[in-house]
């Protein structure tokens, strides 16, 4: 079947496993035997059938070896047939650039052209140099991360960290952009059913017939779960697959029901929100253009029914990880659902009745079952008889102590256990070991809700206890066994959900024949006649944790399962211990000599199975990564060569380069032009809030530090907002438009300021008649600054006398500018004569263009945020969040004058009297003048008194703003420095990254025009 020639290993496998073509049973299973599919694994072409997974197709070709272990690089084969698979994690390539690591071979459907590869091997899967770790296993004992990587310290960068990084994950991660796209949806329904096995489907039928909206999700390509692997069962006198077809057809025909396959419920969140990841195209050979690869659903459900079944538990014994050793339940699935014999001479190793049925199915399909090895001595006679009638040898009261075989199991060593003593060994030749150490109810999603799990001593399992959500658990998830039992339980869960929705419904009943009920026991690692300390008895296949690692962790002092887990990494791989947690817990509790519930249980976290970043990101990528807020003048800036920078959520022009200019040259030119004649600046991103109502002035008095009562309509004032702690939160110029109306401007954090105001208004002062409305986006704001600002603007204004006397600095008026209705402010954030024109946003660009045209007479120069920053710094105007960091008071910032000393109260007033706030030596905002005027300091750099002091140096502050000032011909900087106001004239030092330091003198923070003469109209 393979395209290439056969290698020695494959010939060996054929001898062991019979003719490869014999492994696929024609006309058996749910695969389409008439539709062959070709795909590649590690470069070789394999043939499978439509409906196969990579795992079932490889097994049909006798290929068990699918990967290498994480720590010891031991050869590993497929263990399960589902999403709990710890070993068969492969890389899949679907098309150019479409690669995914760690895909479950047991979940990935094959299609023509699919390319897959094994992982964690070099140079090849069959010969892997890393397998040397297997011989050095004593170095990799429990806690080796903590022990090995401590010393010497110099090994960190070159040895330990690269090792940990390489070892930290299986597979290779992408180094290029994911070309696929991903979708997301919200969905609301009355009943969400997770898992479409017998209990989920019975719940769905009951719920759907009553009429509410029902969503059924299942992670598999095909719905049915256990029913797909149990074809001998009959339900209501119908062969189970016939029953399944008609059962699925009914809800599929109902408009109130949505069936979603290939959809994994990845997380269960508050108030019955369940996240689903739906795979849409990974199984398709021809993907429709523009089809999203996956869709993330956020489902808000009235009632949730979890019917996730149970996962079979491995047996822990030496060599239990050899390819060919797998779960009996998986072998049954491969046989009955995919028509694949996982071997022709299997041995069953079990402590549960269920694996006996696997043996029978395999024997009936023509396999020579070498033996059923059961750790129990008390076996139901019916099973013993059924084994005998098939001439299967049953070894009861036996343990398994070793396996042999390099890339595939060749034999298993078993010993009788009599009176607690392990007897003489016997070796049984085999090509597969199919184990079942019990069943673990799948309660991961329930665990997400923080519902309590209670230990059921009879079932030897944790079962759902107290619920925190409107959730019902049905079927094997709550420890039930047998198709009849879970059908009835599912129907009851459906009825219970309807009752909780206030609807009436009776649970349907089902007649089941050939049901395979049974019981079993669970156990710690199997007893052995050999030294347990050299046994490689794996508990966690994915993280390579053995039974002796867990016992070592207990010996070294770990008492809680949470500590054992972290020390050994048991259950910490991407499978979250679906197979290993209960075995690990059983062994740890045995080592501690305590009952299992006393040792505890670890918590499952979302996602249930590994989920792509793409699905979680959805539409948030590339240009859609985040909403880009653009000003009404943004398009002009684009057309005129602006460089942009993100400022909060806004995109702002940072400078406008002319041909040949770098940023530095452009910014210097913009600064010069503005100081010398006229600059124009898009300030539309300024936050704006209307504070309106008869109590507006009282509200302003309470919120802001400044006094507002005497501010006349038509005037504006700098406003300072503190938090309750007395630290600066925000600032801005506030205009009084009318007695009862303020036009408040804020920093870019307008939404935060509005929230804070609303918070106070609604919770502290609900008596005030005042209302707050965000108007940030209503207005386009254009700032005009420079000696010629008045000359440009005055002729364009109607409805306001623009003389210096009638419209002095800090005035505001409603008028028209260039015939656009406008709120005109005379204010300055540059120290130059300045105006800010607000017009309705739609007129923003037209006004800008008009001002540019008229401004030609004054060589008007558009400038960006860089120049704005420099011009304001030259004047010592602070920027909240740059020169302050949430620990700066008005006095620290040198703006204590903005506090209305006579006011009885304002937010933060009382905190300003705290001893620490009035203490000397606080960090205070000062200017810094470098000794070398050409030296510019680095923003954020730390400041010290003596650069020669030993490390770690005592840091007394940091640089908050630093620029080249074209106006002053030197660098300028602002900094917060301990006791800065008392250090005027002192020289401080700023250590640099290269080990040197820069010296700077402490100055006032107003560098240019301290008298403010330039604000005046000439």
């Amino acid at each position: 079947m393979q395209a290439g020639g056969l290698g020695a290993d494959q010939i060996q496998q054929i001898q062991l496993g019979g003719k490869m073509s014999d492994l696929r049973i024609s006309d058996r299973g749910r695969v389409d035997h008439a539709r062959p599919v070709r795909f590649t694994f590690d470069g070789k072409t394999f043939a499978g059938l439509e409906g196969d997974t990579v795992a079932s197709a490889l097994l049909a070709n006798g290929q068990h070896l699918m990967g290498r272990g994480f720590k010891y690089h031991r050869p590993r084969g497929v263990v399960t047939a589902g999403s709990e698979e710890p070993n068969a994690l492969i890389g899949t390539t679907r098309g150019p650039g479409q690669f995914e690591p760690n895909t479950h071979a047991t979940m990935q459907e094959i299609y023509d052209g699919l390319s897959t590869e094994s992982q964690n091997k070099w140079p090849s899967l069959k010969f892997d140099i890393g397998a040397i770790n297997d011989r050095l296993y004593m170095l990799f004992s429990a806690g080796f991360y903590y022990k090995t990587f401590m010393w010497p310290k110099s090994f960190w960068d070159k040895v330990y960290e690269p090792f940990i990084r390489r070892a930290a994950g299986l597979g290779r991660s992408l180094t290029y952009l994911d070309p696929d796209h991903y979708a997301s949806r919200y969905l609301h329904c009355d009943v969400l059913i997770v898992g479409a096995g017998p209990s989920g489907l019975a719940a769905a039928l009951t719920a759907a017939r009553s009429g509410p909206s029902v969503v059924v999700v299942d992670e598999q390509a095909e719905m049915g779960e256990a029913l797909l692997s149990e074809p001998s069962v009959e339900i209501d006198r119908d062969q189970v697959w016939g029953w399944l077809a008609s059962t699925l057809a009914e809800p599929a025909s109902l408009p109130n029901v949505r069936l979603m396959n290939r959809s994994t419920a990845i997380g269960y969140y508050h108030q019955n929100m369940v996240g689903l990841c739906q795979k849409l195209t990974d199984h398709l050979s021809d993907v429709p253009a523009d089809a999203p690869r996956e869709r993330l659903w956020r489902v808000r459900a009235g009632q949730v029914i979890l019917a996730q079944g149970a996962i079979d538990r491995p047996m822990v014994f030496d060599g239990n990880d050899r390819p060919g050793v797998m779960m009996a339940g998986a072998a049954q699935t491969f046989l009955n659902r995919f028509g694949v014999k996982v071997g022709v001479r299997p041995v069953i190793l079990t402590s549960n009745d269920s694996a006996w049925y696997t043996a029978f199915d395999l024997a009936d399909a023509g396999c020579k079952v070498a033996a059923i090895v059961d750790t129990r001595t008390d076996i139901p006679p019916a099973l013993m008889q059924a084994a005998m009638s098939r001439q299967i040898e049953a070894l009861t009261g036996y343990t398994a102590t070793a396996t042999s075989g390099r890339l595939r199991v060749k034999s298993i060593r078993v010993n009788p256990v009599r009176g607690g003593r392990v007897g003489a060994a016997r070796t049984i030749a085999c090509d597969a070991v199919l184990m079942c150490g019990g069943w673990t109810p799948s309660l991961h999603l329930f665990s997400h809700t923080k519902g309590s799990l209670e230990w059921d001593a009879k079932a030897k399992a944790y079962l759902p206890g107290h619920k925190t959500e409107a959730v019902h658990i049905a079927g094997a998830g709550r420890g039930l066994w047998g198709i009849a039992a879970v059908l009835a339980d599912g129907a009851q869960a459906g009825a219970d959900a309807l009752r909780d929705l206030g609807r009436k419904a009776g649970a349907a009943t089902y007649a089941v024949t050939n049901d395979r009920t049974g019981t079993g026991i669970t156990q710690k690692e199997l007893p052995t006649d050999r030294s347990p300390s050299s046994a490689k008895a794996f508990v966690d296949f994915q993280n390579d944790v053995t039974a002796k690692d867990i016992r070592l962790a207990v010996r070294e002092g770990m008492r809680s399962i949470e500590h054992v887990k972290r020390y050994t990494t048991n259950g910490m791989a991407t499978d979250q211990g679906k197979l290993s947690n209960m075995n690990g817990l059983t062994i740890a509790s045995d080592a501690l000599g305590k009952d299992i519930p006393q040792v505890g249980l670890t918590t499952f976290r979302p996602p249930y199975t590994p989920t792509t970043f793409g699905a979680l990101a959805g539409y948030h990528k590339g240009s859609h990564f985040e909403v880009t807020r653009k000003t009404p003048i943004d398009s002009w800036a684009v057309e005129n060569g602006a460089a942009f920078e993100p400022v909060a959520l806004w995109r702002r022009a940072s400078y406008f380069s002319k041909a040949g200019e770098d940023m530095h040259a452009a910014v210097n030119r913009e600064c010069r032009a503005t100081r010398q004649s006229l600059g124009i600046f898009d300030a539309s991103t300024l936050g704006k809030i209307e504070v309106s109502g008869p109590d507006a002035v009282e509200f302003m008095n309470r919120m802001y530090t400044n006094p507002w009562a005497k501010l006349a309509p038509g005037k504006c004032r700098y406003g300072l907002l503190l938090g309750e702690d007395g630290f600066i939160r925000d600032d801005g110029v506030i205009g009084r438009m009318r007695d009862d109306l303020f036009h408040v401007t804020t920093t870019g954090g307008a939404a935060r300021v509005l929230n804070m105001m609303e918070d106070y208004l609604q919770t502290e002062w609900p008596d005030l008649q005042v209302w707050l409305t965000s108007t940030t986006e209503e207005w386009a704001t254009i700032a005009i600054n420079g000696p010629n600002a008045h000359k440009l603007l005055a002729p364009l204004v109607e409805g306001q006398n623009m003389s210096d006397a009638a419209f002095p600095h800090m005035s505001v008026a409603e008028c028209t500018v260039a015939s656009f209705p406008s709120r005109l402010f005379r204010i300055s954030f540059t120290g130059e004569l300045g105006f800010e024109v607000n017009v309705p946003a739609r007129h923003g660009r037209a006004l800008w263009e008009k001002l540019m045209e008229v401004g030609k007479a004054y060589d008007v120069c558009p400038y960006g945020t860089e120049t704005m920053h420099i011009l304001r710094a030259e004047k010592g105007y602070i920027i909240i969040g740059q020169d302050t960091d949430g620990t700066v008071t008005p006095e620290d910032a040198g703006i204590g004058w903005a506090i209305g000393k006579a006011k009885p109260d304002f937010v933060g007033k009382r905190s300003l009297a705290w001893p620490d706030i009035v203490a000397k030596g606080r960090k205070q905002l000062v200017g810094l003048s470098t000794e070398n005027p050409k030296d510019a300091l680095v923003e954020g750099a730390q400041i010290v008194l003596d650069p020669k002091q030993p490390k770690p140096m005592k840091m007394i502050g940091h640089v908050t703003s630093s620029y080249w000032s074209e106006a002053l011909g030197r660098s300028i900087a602002m900094a917060v420095v301990q006791g800065g106001f008392d250090r005027m004239g002192d020289t401080l030092h700023i250590p640099t990254a290269d080990g040197g330091s820069q010296a700077a003198k402490v100055t006032g923070s107003v560098f240019d025009d301290p008298a403010g003469d330039r604000l005046k109209v000439e």
Binding site: S184, Y186, R300, T775
Partner: protein, 143 residues
């Protein structure tokens, strides 16, 4: 807008012509004064709409109404409320340019909204409004 606007068979997305949009805040006890000023009996229940003569009003929160009118009437509406201000304190803010309205029509309109709107819109009565989110953007949905 980051995405281009496209029309499909099942759905069309268009930016509607400009209207006068105003945000009214007033104590419910004074609603009659506002109703008289606007010329429509303003609805008292959140989400409800009243519309006539090219004007419409939706109640968005206990003391908040969204008013729509023809663009040409914006100045007159503001003036009428200014007169009424002496009778009852309120806040009336022009937000015509603060936002714009997108019409989403077609059999799959609700499905398109479910891409990023967390609310269950299936039971939303035509004519009513809800303030909600579309992804990270605040929106007012009018059915």
């Amino acid at each position: 807008m980051n995405a281009s606007i496209k029309s499909f068979d099942a759905i069309s997305v268009t930016v509607l012509p400009a209207v006068a949009r105003l945000n009214l805040r007033i104590a419910p006890a004074n609603l009659e004064v506002a109703s008289a000023a606007f010329g429509l009996p303003l609805p008292g229940k959140i989400g409800q709409r009243v519309a006539a003569n090219g004007r419409a009003a939706w109640c968005l929160s206990p003391d908040e109404w969204l008013l729509h009118g023809p663009e040409a009437e914006q100045t007159a509406i503001v003036a009428d409320f200014a007169t009424a201000r002496v009778k009852a304190p309120r806040s009336l803010t022009v937000i015509s340019d603060r936002e714009f309205t997108i019409a989403i029509t077609g059999p799959r309109a609700q499905e398109l909204l479910s891409v990023a709107c967390p609310l269950d819109l299936s039971g939303m009565v035509p004519g009513t409004a809800k303030r909600t989110l579309f992804d990270s953007a605040q929106v007012v949905l009018i059915r």
